[in-house]
Amino acid sequence: MATTYEAIATVTVGSGGAASIEFTSIPATYTDLKIVYSARNNRVDTTDHILIGFNGGTTSITNRQLYGFATSVGSITSVPRSVGYVNSASATTNTFSNAEVYIPNYTSSNYKSYSADNVDENNTSGDNGLWLTAGLWSSTSAITSISLTSNIGTAFVQYSTATLYGIKNS
């Protein structure tokens, strides 16, 4: 049976932290990509958004996000590169947010869609959230690099980790 799901690369943030994580020189030999991350950053708050970028750029990315908090639900389009929340410095100690970002047909000459399923982990009744994101990168270029960056926080903290998977259809 052919291998259709492979871990391309994994990165874990060291003790000094990192402003962003970037996967470069992504091979064009798969049909889809998936990023799985576990992350926490240094924003002085409980949460922050985590932002995605493609091919070294941050433009032409739009989204619709559905969220659910302890006491409210809703949707926004106002953080266009967000793939969900990331746990920040005031969240329960040693808790990390988790997410999957799925990018089908990343080498297509059409615009690229992606979806993300995210949760921030926080031991509280009032400040934790679930996010579902539908996003679009309006570019006809094949995706060759992907970045993950904090929105307000300046660094992902130690032990934050991200893995890029390649998925083939046969």
Partner: protein, 74 residues
């Protein structure tokens, strides 16, 4: 924080790379835009909650019980 982790998927090698001035400027712009967006979201949530509370108060003034008011939103 002035560096990012770059993973070269063709080699598997991870390196620390200094942020460019452009990347730092982008981060600052993202943060400013987020502050506005988050304030708007919170204001919308608060307005929604206030409208709900006001509606419930008016219904209570009309003589509905808390159970009857709750039943309206089910």
């Amino acid at each position: 924080m002035t560096h990012k982790l770059v993973v070269d998927c063709s080699t598997g090698v991870t390196t620390e790379v200094e942020l460019t001035a452009e990347e730092i400027a982008q981060a600052e712009a993202d943060a400013a835009a987020f502050a506005v967006a988050e304030a708007e979201r919170i204001a919308a949530e608060e307005a929604k909650a206030a409208a709900k509370a006001a509606a419930e108060a008016k219904l209570a003034a009309l003589g509905l019980t808390a159970e009857e008011i709750a039943a309206l939103s089910k």
